[in-house]
Symmetry: C2
Subunit: 880 residues, 2 copies
């Protein structure tokens, strides 16, 4: 028969994942602390399975549970020597929820359960204080009313304040017995008015209702959405912990507090925590009275302090991680009510992990597993001061598209941003657009941050901003941007050009006005941790970088190569775009070649600079990728200007713009299709690459170019272009009487390429998965357009995560596995990497590790995250 209830002292084995899943974390740790001899008030846990059965049975209790609870209550009575509901010597309990991870939003705690108009007296006798008993009863009605009966807490506070005013006192503790009696009477009356029923006097009924309230709280919207956001198990259920009450409110020899075994802000090893004398649990958190630091307990209750110091030591040694625990002191006797791994700041996480290795408490692999990649990320970016955030609400919430915070004047066109930055290079600007396009690059450069109202996590704005390491909030759908007139509105706010806004790309928040920022602090611990990652990870980490600046940042963060150098960004710079447009407007191969010859020196210099920064490390250069129309102007005035510059009729320019117009540019004339229709484009690019490498060789600098062919879907494309690359490279080397090594590979971003990888691998030295486009084609989602339905999909649980954020293992992942397998079948030594946005996402990195790839490539600012995530993936894999 299934058992639904376990007493704390029943568990004989050290706590395990299984126990945590079965009892919830709180229950499992209460049992564990009991097992290792720490002073825990006795009690029992109703399993998470009971919760699951509760839902499976349409909110009815599963069979047998009632009897098990009764039996356990009986044992508790025997153990404590009190009786539940006994007017003379009542047993009181606390009821608390606890799932396998702690989850805000779920019902937390009901204390003093078992009190009623009768048992109140018995309690008074037990604790030797009628007032103490009245205070406990008052608290019980309030808590039960709030969390079980759903009566707003404010209604109770109202009654309480009114009574304090009437009594002319400020603190709850100052209320007299008769005041408390009056409060209780008023509470009961209000409860009856609110629920239509008397406040339940039967302790058994109280218990049953409290347990149901815990079960119910598993599925309240806040809890559901918390699980969705944090990718927690939907089917886990919550445990219910029923525990004999101890009282911290029995005078100044009693108290309650919270301890951390290390400082959760800094990570320093110290006895961190605070307590209140003569108080019950929730008072510390509620902040009604100001708690005292742990140290002053030495003076107040020295016996309890000594015991507490012991507890600090035992908890750390036993759990080998920083603990966050709750304690109550009842008449100088210390009781532990809860312990869990303490939440900590990023900085603290790293310091604690490293210190614990040095103290011999944990191994390096354990230390690496203790720091989350997200924490590393937050260390690298400016943040809005959390104190300021607690005082001001955001005006909009978009997607956390590129981490970090920025503050600046709103500006609505890239042109304007560029001009303002030119006039005053110190000017702080936030570029606000409904969406960005490649024409906006310079404006994005000029701005401190980017805010868009449409587009997802891999929209142009998001991708480019991440590449630049600039904060970006994308897809803030509640914002209406009027770019022409230069303002945006959101709700009742209207922000004009030049007015200050603040964005937080780590959270997606947008604030009106100038918020104070705090700077990231990269300490020695951070650098040490990063070094450790390299000892364990098997995946290489490279960066996506298009400029020498990006490359420098990437190398500084430990990137061991460039996995994606996009050449088209080089085409957009003002000095070059004219030649690019001339090339596109050419009608013959000769004209095109003439225009390309003008671009060649620019490209060569670009590559020379990047190769120099990355000396000795591989640089994967992607041949021209975007559809040509992206380079042409769209506005009539601009077209007119272009026609004049090019000495062409406006009609001809317009005709070319129209001819290149595409219904679905994502699936259009781009990538290697350009290079096959106009081979001279790729010839120029290959020439620039090889010439650059040869020039550096003369200076004694080794360049390691890897030429990557984008949007490839057919082996014949590869045959054609491999030939073109090799012929061009050979020709250049012959001209220059010198040679260098280079490789040629494929950006795998189309399902067809993956499905025919065995054919393609015959001609390729490497595959690099372009998981952005592969996700687009595999799902049939345009990353620019999916913002309208993907949020609904997440909300309705159709998708558990945006596939542009974390790689989809079942679909996109299947194609990656197929490719890897097929590719290796015909070319066992083929190098396999990934250069999509997923290269910086920890969950995806774990998948790539499991798929046997050789490296990941991500934006420069995500390199540390990727290094850590790769190490964690390798450690997990080694564990099996």
């Amino acid at each position: 028969m299934v058992r639904f209830v376990y007493s704390f002292d029943e568990i004989r084995e050290p706590v395990s994942e299984e126990t945590v899943l079965r009892l919830g974390n709180k229950g499992a740790q209460l049992a564990e602390m009991t097992r290792i001899g720490l002073p825990v008030p006795p009690g029992f846990t109703i399993t998470t399975q009971a919760c699951r059965e509760f839902y499976a049975r349409n909110k009815k209790w599963p069979e047998g549970i009632r009897e098990e609870i009764r039996e356990n209550m009986r044992r508790l009575e025997t153990r404590i020597g009190k009786k539940f509901g006994d007017p003379q010597n009542p047993l009181l309990v606390s009821v608390r929820s606890g799932s396998y991870v702690s989850m805000p939003g779920m019902m937390d705690t009901v204390l003093n359960l078992g009190l009623n108009d009768e048992t109140l007296k018995g309690l008074g006798a037990q604790v030797g204080s009628v007032r103490g008993a009245l205070d406990s009863y008052r608290r019980f009605i309030q808590m039960f009313g709030d969390v079980v009966l759903g009566i707003p807490n404010a209604k109770f506070e109202e009654i309480l304040s009114r009574r304090k005013n009437a009594a002319g006192v400020k603190q709850d503790t100052e209320l007299k017995e008769k005041d408390l009696e009056a409060v209780i009477a008023e509470y009961q009356k209000m409860v009856q008015g609110h629920t239509g029923r008397e406040f339940p006097q039967d302790p058994q009924e109280q218990l049953q209702q409290a347990i149901n309230a815990v079960f119910d709280s598993w599925n309240i919207p806040r809890a559901v959405s918390y699980r969705r956001i944090h990718k927690l198990r939907e089917d886990a259920g919550t445990g219910v912990n029923v525990q004999a009450m101890v009282f911290g409110n029995l005078g100044n020899g009693s108290g309650t507090g919270v301890g951390f075994t290390r400082n959760p802000s800094t990570g320093e090893k110290e006895h961190y925590g605070e307590f209140l004398l003569n108080a019950q649990g929730e008072d510390v958190v509620a902040g009604i009275r100001t708690p005292q630091p742990i140290d002053s307990l030495k003076q107040a209750i020295p016996e309890a302090y000594a015991e507490l110091m012991n507890v600090y030591r035992i908890l750390e040694t036993h759990y080998r991680d920083m603990q966050d625990f709750e304690f109550t002191i009842e008449r100088k006797k210390l009781f532990l009510l809860q312990t869990r791994n303490g939440k900590r700041t990023a900085q603290a996480a790293i310091r604690i992990a490293i210190d614990m290795v040095k103290e011999g408490l944990i191994s390096k692999t354990e230390a690496l597993m203790r720091v989350s990649p997200k924490q590393v990320d937050s260390l690298l970016h400016k943040q809005i001061d959390p104190r300021a955030k607690s005082k001001q609400k955001p005006i909009a919430l978009g997607l956390a598209a590129s981490p970090g915070a920025a503050v600046g004047k709103a500006v609505f066109t890239a042109e304007k941003a560029r001009k303002m930055a030119e006039e005053n290079p110190q000017e702080k600007l936030i570029l606000v657009r409904s969406e960005t396009s490649p024409e906006d690059i310079e404006g994005m450069h000029a701005a401190k941050g980017i805010l868009t109202s449409t587009g997802g996590l891999t929209s142009h704005a998001a991708v480019v901003a991440r590449g630049m390491g600039k904060p970006c909030v994308s897809g803030a759908a509640s914002i209406q941007v009027n770019e022409e007139k230069g303002f945006f509105t959101v709700g009742e706010h209207r922000i004009e050009e030049g007015e200050m806004v603040s964005i937080d790309g780590t959270t997606g928040e947008v604030f009106d006005g100038e918020m104070p920022l705090v700077s990231p602090q990269i300490g020695n611990e951070f650098l040490e941790l990063m070094k450790w990652t390299d000892e364990f990870r098997t995946l290489g980490v490279r960066a996506n970088a298009d400029t020498p600046q990006d490359a420098k940042v990437a190398r500084g963060f430990g990137a061991r190569g460039i996995g994606l150098c996009r050449t088209e960004h080089m085409f957009f710079e003002e000095t070059r775009i004219a030649a690019v447009r001339e090339m596109i407007l050419s009608s013959t191969q000769e004209e095109r070649e003439r225009a390309l010859a003008k671009i060649l020196p620019f490209q060569r210099t670009d590559f020379e600079e990047i190769f120099e920064v990355m000396e000795g490390l591989p640089v994967t250069i992607r041949l021209l990728d975007p559809p040509l129309h992206e380079f042409l102007p769209k506005e009539e005035a601009e077209i007119r200007k272009l026609a004049q510059t090019m000495r062409l009729t406006e009609e001809k320019v317009m005709a070319r713009v129209q001819a290149l117009h595409e219904f679905n540019p994502m699936l259009g004339f781009r990538g290697c299709r350009l290079g096959i229709v106009y081979p001279e484009i790729n010839q120029m690019q290959v020439r620039a690459i090889i010439e650059a490498a040869l020039n550096l060789k003369k200076k004694g600098i080794r360049a390691v170019p890897e030429i990557m062919i984008p949007v490839l879907g057919h082996v014949n494309e590869m045959k054609f272009l491999r030939q073109l690359v090799d012929d061009t490279a050979q020709a250049v080397m012959k001209e220059k009487h010198d040679g260098i090594e280079y490789t040629v590979g494929v950006m795998m971003e189309l399902p067809r390429a993956c499905l025919t990888a065995d054919e393609i691998a015959h001609y390729a030295d490497f595959f690099s998965f372009g998981t952005n486009d592969l996700t687009q084609t595999t799902f049939g989602y345009s990353r620019d357009d999916s913002g309208i339905f993907v949020p609904v999909y997440l909300e309705k649980g159709i998708l558990s995560v945006d596939p542009f954020e974390s790689v989809d293992p079942a679909g996109v992942g299947a194609l990656i596995r197929i490719s890897a397998e097929k590719g290796r079948s015909s070319s066992p030594k083929i190098k396999l990497g990934i250069c999509g946005e997923h290269g910086g996402d920890p969950a995806s990195i774990e998948f790539f590790e499991s798929a046997g790839l050789h490296y990941v490539s991500c934006s420069p600012y995500r390199v540390p995250i990727a290094r850590l995530a790769a190490a964690q993936a390798a450690i997990k894999k080694a564990k099996g």
Copy 2:
């Protein structure tokens, strides 16, 4: 050692595919005729491998071949008793190309090779006619000069005519010996002037040059492009046949002719053919003299006639197919120079196939294999009279997007077409657009044919035209359409609105003016053949039909159900679009439901009508698929009008249009994504379907609805929508106190759906592959945009066929196989079909048969083709 040369009488085995590939078809049939005792002049064949080696060695002969040829020439000399190059008794030969299929454009024939100024005399003695010898020599120089030396034939004809004029005669045969001598001298002089060398006098050199010319002709552009268009093997190479000459030009007891064992136009069994007395081979074809019908040979050379009748009989009995053969009569003795399966009209092909079965010559399966699906297609559509085509050249060539020919006044907007057709329903119109969109549907209805300058074989224009059975030429890129001003230009032609144009959607040709059309003739033989297909095919054949009219046509052609009924076309009709737009402009679910309630009765009636036509047969109804913006107007004036009708501000309408704008609509908010975000749309559609089926049930008509969910990529979408469909259907049936059966399935058109088919199959009764979109996503080709690079890909041999025309087995096909396998693994009885455009393509049908699908669905007018192709695929599969 490899042998490169085989004598005709060496082959002992009946002709096989292997022999045909090795010797070429001509060589293989010469050997076969020799083997079965027919009178063939002796000779030998140089293998196709020799040709391949020739190219592999940079146009050098492979080793050993020279000796083999010499040896075979020696044997030929012995056999005939003449000597190659002997002035007294010269051996003359013909040299002819011959690949595994006959290929226009390749070098055909050089006769009389071995003649020179010396052997000429010996020939005169041999044939007893100096004039005959001179005539042969003159012909040889001309043929050799033309096909081997590359001198335009006109230059020879010029000399000949001049001489005929000078001699005052009309026919070549009237030229005297001295005239011929003069012609020969002039020919030789002209050749020397043209090539800078004397006409080769050495017969060995003549032979070598002729053989090289045959090899070279394999790769001349015309031959290459012929192979590409007809999907012939690029690597096959051509054989070379060297054969002892016989002479038809030795007076009136000699002659030459061509025979067909049945009438190639009608298929009637008769001795079809014609001949010329005193002539050599090319004269019959050249049309200089009018040949006589075969029957008159009975009078002219009775001995040869008797033998010829015997040959007719033997060839048909032996080859069991209609033969097209060449013969020469040398002094009353009949020789066969060639035989091959005769080309025939579609009508003849069917009649011959059926007759031969009735005559017991061939089996039904053979008969079915003898008729090509293309022939069936041409039988179903009007054609431009071939006689008119031979006189007038097309002004443009586009894609053969929807078969049949149409003639009408050019009209440039759908609105205008509709109006003109309203004013005069007899008006013949051709709608000319750069491309069409769903808003053009009514105009397309009003036109006889559609011509577009952009878009591929699966562009909107092409798909809709095929669905309507209307001729369409799409992607005629040389045409510039000016829709506003109402004209189009192509080269120097300019066609104004109202001027007549003709299009041939079977060939892609566009003609200026009104071309005469000939009507299709569907005879009893056609119907009989179609019946036979049903005996053999295992694939079901359904049609894609959106209207009762389409459904009727489809059922008439033998469709056993509807495999794709698109519901969005129903939304575009003028009476409904208002409600559809109201639905889209709604901002709450209630508003949307109100608008949908207005559409419901229309949809229900649509379905009732279609179910009635398809009584008892399955009808697969696809839930709403296109992005909503397709239903909204794009022009400002129209938006203004809509705002007025809807009593909304223009701004609001404009905002909604903009909000629904998509960068890549193909990958946007469409398909089941609509139904998940706005479930009420699909609820309305399911209600309409179920209500329609229940209404018909009351009338005693059985409807078999299959509800299909489009653009699905994730099992959770399926779970959600299956639930929605089932809930809605149950609710309707409960309301109506009645029930019907229905199934729910998935349109498989995204790679992710295919890769996770095992998960999806748990909730699906059927999969129907939407191979259009699956091709788009697998290749990353937008069908609307690929017109710019796919033609280049075909030209450069990157693709051997447009993947929108024939399904790509390696990529799209792999996904179909994966889906089928995975789908069956979790649901062994799942029904598998295909409803993309490929459903009517024979090569694709063969693939679908091999992949184990259950049915194909194609446009109504392609149903007969699909039935035949399916039968052929099944027969091929059975053969292994």
